[in-house]
Symmetry: C2
Subunit: 208 residues, 2 copies
């Protein structure tokens, strides 16, 4: 009998435990993103998760506990953005397109969490702390990369911070339009990445 309790926890029951818990998290994420923290009542959450309301409180100390758990999903954003810039790129445009893809994908993957943060920004200290540094992270990471290019002499003039801000803003706006306001951009995302990268590099009055 060597530590049968541990085996038991991980093996036997663990599976279903997690299943329920994650169904609750999934439901909460969806509802909070749509209706806000207050609008996502524990009752609605339990119903959407297909469990009894009591079960929700068996898995989480209280409602805030659910929110806190959800917020953990956006802690590693900076790292992921920086990793996306590690590889080798044929040229600057390639890099920009790749960065756009990474950033936009990151937003879409975690769209519910970001929505919750947007909505709840003022109400929950937990959200504020976690979210406040985030909007500028993507700008900073790109800004630094551009600055490095400049210092290598591959890139003339122009404020890299403003450039990064413009670039990142574009995809954030597109993301918000699509997933918050349900607006049709009438443009394939990949096409947007291309066009935006080109404009950022050449401008629209470029003499060609």
């Amino acid at each position: 009998m060597d530590h049968p309790d541990i085996e038991q926890k991980l093996g036997g029951r663990g599976e279903e435990e997690q299943e329920t818990r994650e169904r609750i998290l999934l439901a909460a994420r969806q509802l909070m993103a749509q209706k806000g923290y207050k609008g996502a009542t524990t009752r609605k959450i339990s119903e959407l998760a297909g469990v009894n309301e009591v079960t929700v409180f068996r898995h989480f100390k209280n409602k805030v506990g659910i929110l806190t758990e959800l917020l953990k999903e956006i802690m590693d954003v900076r790292e992921q953005l920086e990793q996306g810039l590690q590889g080798e790129f044929a040229d600057l445009k390639e890099m920009l397109v790749s960065y756009a893809r990474t950033y936009y994908g990151l937003l879409v993957e975690r769209k519910e969490i970001f929505m919750i943060c947007m909505i709840e920004a003022d109400n929950h200290p937990e959200v504020v702390q976690m979210f406040s540094s985030l909007p500028m992270t993507a700008v900073q990471v790109l800004s630094n990369k551009l600055l490095a290019f400049q210092e290598q002499g591959h890139l003339p003039k122009a404020d890299p911070f403003t450039a990064a801000l413009m670039f990142v803003s574009t995809f954030f706006y597109a993301f918000m339009a699509k997933y918050r306001v349900n607006l049709d951009l009438e443009m394939v995302e990949e096409e947007l990445f291309e066009n935006a990268s080109e404009i950022l590099l050449q401008g629209i009055s470029g003499l060609k």
Copy 2:
């Protein structure tokens, strides 16, 4: 005695009537922008307005009535944007800077209402209807103007829609960062207008 009732309404009592009503609207606007519709309880609104809670319901049929009233403030956005493009401009850059100023100013002026719309986008049909067309309005107006320039031969290649999207997004993002996330952009707005306009026109790799 020719219509003394009308005189009375507009003159005598009207003044204070409006004062109270607008103090309520002001409070509601502030609170809803910060805490969302649900978070802005009628009690808090009345307290912030410095009136009795009952008075709120004497002025508005119900809570939704307050929201509906507030939303009227963003109905004329498109017109204002187009008006901002009417004047004569020395060059394209002047026009862009001016447009940026108009658009950003418009956001700041109505910041609370826009926040309410962002937050409540999913919950209230009134908001959806009023707000859904708005994010792209600023893009379209600018996009059309750019297209006109192109057709006059003053502007080569480049997708005007993407360009307009990039431009507008930038100031929206800056606006959100400042007023929703309380982030310091470390940049004077006017400077941002200048830089962004320049980058949109010339790009960052412009051979000069």
